[in-house]
């Protein structure tokens, strides 16, 4: 048909602006007469607010306004519940400004607007807030205990939600098992930390009653709907624009963060543009966190290591509110079985309120936690049975001939985990070959004999991607010969402009330079959901392809009419419709576009323009898969880990742009390494976050991230015409369990078990010195109410 672009390493069209300093990030906006805002945040984890006195702040020259909850009125009603989990007991969502009660350190209490950011920050110190603090619920398991301080006084327990799930006869599976193992596993709390913090700029045009909001959001269409509703404005009078955004990874969707409402509110009230840019400390305190869960898992198997049943009851720290529902816990459950066949499964997640910042998805959204549990349990089972850790996986993998195979759990949007279009044994073979597994194992004993502690570990995952409900795309051919593609979901670095242009140009038969992509602006296309959950390739690009196919057919039909030939005899080459085999007979798309939109007459029944809008509505998630393998050495004197090899083998279906896929896989793996060794948020007993800078919350640098060897397998998805499965998050998933496995393997003579991540060199050293110590798990009594008996 036309030039092949899908599957090519096309250079990104985004890059020139980003490389020359001419991109437009939120803080790069300078509007005439712009005022600047700063947020006053709670200094207590739990307190009543008796009184707020802003008089001294208002007296400071240059201060324009101090806005508290009383000023907001109905705009300060609770934010929506985005995911109404069937197990909810007491859903509670946040408000823009705390009305009389704060529930975490960092919660927004007031907004100052001033002539400069410096002046606004000075004014924060002059606002007097009379707090009445009380003890806070901080530690996850302690918060579930009777008598624990309540995060929400109108509840009788901090348990927000309790959701069981069953497949098969779990009791029978455990009763007939030759072996049952049980572990308590603890993936710790971390945060996304994109290099650009959040920000918002709003401008109100009083004459048109129109509000324009520039917002670092991953979901501008939803943000517009909520801002309009909260401010009592028609949606038509609110435009939300996601400009260049410096990384998202999940943290830039909250719907709404307080500032996304406060800044438009202030701009409308003051009739001046208002800018708010979060600083890094605020980002630690006032933007969402992710990750802490405590899993009590049990695995039942035959003596040959064939899995019979899995139980996992787990506690999920929701933070002070639960606007997302317990979505990370749900996703952890959805992919828990990984690539393995488990006939009987019982899970139950218990979401718990604590006086800490809100928890919402960060790259992987709980899937890394679930993977940490399953992969660690597989290793424990192998060790107990004396079976090689790879061999036990091989015995339980879903095989291509089993597919479609129901994995037994349910992912987001009520999507059953159905394995299809996959070949896990092939992934494993590829990984072991690349890693030299057999060779390593053969030399391990002699290394140990000379005091070199090397280990090997693998981690296998299945990643839920491309979730519903939908994305939409308008494709239109202009009389200029350009093809304009418009969609609602924005980019935070994923290169959507490039990949969308590849899909549309190849499908239509035009030069990609003729394709103009507009995304993330509600004034261009106001339907869509957002950029998260590895959706853009699967859902967005499929919508683009569908719309392009429709436009292409319209062009062919119109050309057939003009050229008096059958449409089926025509092809499109480089923007021109021509007779197959007789390229001299033809007409350009530009001419057809002009003819389709005549000034004088339009045929009855004919829609003007060469354009189409199509939506892709997947019925459920797609599933991608992969395996990571690591060879490392542990220094038993220091606990330091030296990574020798890191191999990634993955299958994300058809790759639209392999260079961008590489970048997603490498970047996700690096974030996984951060979560494995370095990144942990620490709170004190009063709920004060102790890690609020990059000096104490450590992001790995180029020195810590090793060279990663990437291998792609491409088994196309049968669920969409592109065959894409999505690639954004999977790379994070198996990193911590694979490292834990490799460190345990290296330290096998010491009997080390790693049950929590991250694990730093001091943690590893403590394990070497203390054997099988489970560090933090034993400090708090367990809650009385896991709902299952133990196996």
């Amino acid at each position: 048909m036309s030039t092949r672009l899908i599957g090519e390493r096309v250079k990104r069209r985004e890059d020139h602006r980003l490389l020359t300093g001419t991109a437009s990030f939120i803080d790069d906006l300078h509007l005439p007469n712009m005022a600047h805002a700063a947020v006053l945040r709670s200094v207590h984890a739990k307190a009543r607010i008796r009184r707020i006195d802003a008089s001294k702040a208002l007296a400071l020259p240059g201060v324009l306004a101090v806005i508290t909850h009383e000023d907001l009125g109905a705009a300060n009603d609770p934010m929506p519940l985005l995911n109404n989990d069937r197990g909810f007991i007491s859903p509670r969502t946040h408000r823009a400004l705390a009305p009389g009660q704060v529930r975490f350190v960092g919660e927004a209490v007031a907004l100052v607007v001033a002539e400069s950011r410096y002046r606004a920050e000075d004014a924060l110190e002059l606002i007097e807030v009379d707090y009445d603090p009380s003890p806070a619920a901080v530690e996850l398991l302690a918060a579930t205990q009777p008598g624990a301080p309540l995060v929400h006084d109108d509840t009788n327990s901090n348990i927000a939600c309790r959701t069981p799930h069953r497949r098969g006869d779990v009791e029978a599976a455990f009763a007939k098992a030759d072996i049952v193992i049980a572990e308590e596993l603890r993936p710790e709390r971390g945060a996304a930390q994109p290099m650009e913090t959040r920000g918002c700029v709003a401008q109100f045009d009083a004459s048109a009653d129109h509000l324009t909001v520039w917002d670092t959001t991953q979901a501008p269409v939803s943000a517009r709907g909520l801002i309009a509703a909260k401010l009592g404005m028609p949606e038509a009078h609110v435009t939300v624009i996601a400009p260049d955004v410096g990384g998202g990874f999940g943290v830039k969707i909250m719907l709404l963060y307080p500032e996304e409402l406060l800044i438009p509110f202030a701009a409308r009230r003051l009739k001046r543009p208002v800018k708010w840019i979060e600083d890094r400390r605020e980002h630690f305190l006032g933007s969402n966190h992710e990750r802490l869960m405590i899993h009590k898992a049990e695995l039942a198997a035959t003596k040959d290591g064939v899995l019979l049943g899995l139980r996992d009851v787990y506690y999920y720290d929701s933070g002070a509110y639960c606007p997302y529902g317990p979505i990370n816990a749900e996703c952890a459950q959805g992919i828990l079985p990984g690539p393995y066949k488990i006939p009987a499964i019982h899970t139950e997640y218990i979401a718990v309120y604590s006086n800490t910042p809100v928890v919402s998805p960060y790259r992987g959204a709980g899937m890394p936690h679930g993977n940490f549990v399953m992969e660690t349990m597989m290793n424990r089972l192998a060790d107990r049975l004396g079976i090689d850790r790879v061999e036990i996986r091989r015995r339980n993998l879903v095989r291509p001939e089993d597919c479609p195979y129901d994995g037994g759990t349910v992912f987001q949007y009520n999507t059953a985990l159905i394995h299809r279009d996959c070949d896990y044994p092939a992934l494993l073979t590829k990984l072991l070959g690349a890693l030299g597994y057999g060779h390593f194992k053969a030399s391990q004993a002699s290394d140990r004999a000379r005091g070199v502690y090397k280990g090997i570990g693998i981690g296998c995952y299945v990643e839920g991607t491309g979730i519903p409900p939908y994305e939409g795309m308008e494709v239109r051919i202009e009389p200029t010969g350009h093809v304009t593609v418009s969609t609602g979901y924005p980019s935070q670095g994923q290169g959507h402009q490039t990949t969308l242009a590849q899909v549309v140009a190849e499908t239509l038969g035009v030069d990609p330079d003729k394709v103009v992509v507009q995304a993330g602006r509600t004034d261009r296309f106001a339907w869509g959901v957002g950029t998260f959950a590895s959706r853009a390739a699967v859902v967005g690009c499929t919508a683009a392809q569908k719309a392009t196919v429709k436009v292409r057919q319209r062009a062919l039909n119109l050309a057939a009419d003009k050229l008096e030939v059958a449409a089926s005899d025509l092809e499109i080459v480089a923007g021109r419709v021509q007779l197959k085999g007789v390229p001299g007979v033809g007409i350009t798309l530009a001419e057809l576009a002009a003819a389709s939109n005549p000034i004088i007459t339009l045929e009855p029944g004919v829609e003007p323009g060469l354009r189409a809008i199509e939506y892709h509505r997947p019925e459920g998630a797609t599933f991608a898969s992969g395996m990571h393998g690591i060879i490392l050495e542990v220094d038993i004197e220091t606990g330091m880990v030296r990574i020798e090899r890191y191999v990634v083998v993955h299958d994300c279906g058809v790759m639209i742009n392999p260079a961008i896929v590489d970048g997603q896989a490498l970047g996700a793996t690096a974030q996984g390494i951060g979560g494995t060794f370095y990144e942990k948020l620490h709170f004190d007993e009063a709920g004060q976050l102790l890690t609020t800078t990059f000096m104490d919350y450590l992001i790995p640098t180029a020195m810590e991230i090793p060279r990663i060897e990437l291998h792609h397998l491409e088994h196309p998805s049968s669920l969409n015409p592109l065959g894409a499965k999505g690639v954004g998050e999977g790379g994070v998933m198996p990193v911590a369990p694979a490292f834990a496995a490799a460190v345990e393997d290296a330290l096998a003579p010491f009997g080390v078990k790693i049950n929590a991540a991250p694990f730093s060199p001091p943690d590893v050293l403590a394990l070497i010195l203390g054997g099988t110590a489970d560090r933090e798990e034993q400090t708090v009594p367990h809650p009385p109410h896991p709902s299952t008996g133990s196996g």
């Binding site: 980003l18 020359t20 990030f25 670095g493 970048g663 640098t701 180029a702």
Partner: protein
């Protein structure tokens, strides 16, 4: 706090002289971004760790978020906006585009300015040396590998080799 004392400074940025009367507590990063409106220099942490705000101060890489603008009085500064020679991209910029060395691009200007100075001193670095030279700049998107490849390629281009 609340110093509103002002001072007049003259700074040469990218070969052009700027005279401004500013408050003495104004950060150099904010001066460059919001007074001179050269917004290619980014601010990631405002405590000197992430390196996004790196500029060349008298030819040497410096964190513009850790300096006050008044400290730059009389100084010569280069920012990302000066890296390309008109329409002609610097080899670092070319190599970053060819190797997918950036995703969101927020950290990129700081990395490019750091590497410009580094490659001037170290024209033939090893991969390990490049990784060490990059270790003062955080990137959250790429995992660094494609950045390392881009820097090695840029070094080769600057040596007149085509890798």
């Amino acid at each position: 706090m609340m110093s509103s004392e002002t001072r007049t400074i003259r700074v040469t940025i990218n070969g052009r002289a700027f005279g401004r009367t500013i408050e003495t507590n104004l950060l150099l990063s904010d001066f460059i971004r919001h007074e001179v409106e050269l917004t290619g220099t980014h601010v990631g942490c405002e405590h000197g760790v992430c390196g996004a705000c790196t500029i060349l101060f008298e030819g040497k890489p410096a964190r513009s978020c850790l300096m006050l603008a008044v400290q730059a009085d009389g100084a010569r500064i280069e920012t990302i906006e000066s890296l390309a020679d008109g329409e002609r991209l610097h080899p670092l910029q070319t190599a970053f585009a060819e190797n997918h060395g950036l995703q969101c691009g927020y950290c990129t200007p700081g990395i490019l300015m750091t590497m410009k100075a580094y490659l001037a001193e170290t024209p033939r670095p090893t991969e390990a040396q490049v990784r060490e030279a990059l270790s003062g700049n955080l990137c959250r998107c790429t995992g660094y590998q494609q950045i390392v490849e881009a820097v090695l390629q840029a070094a080769a281009l600057m040596r007149g080799e085509r890798p």
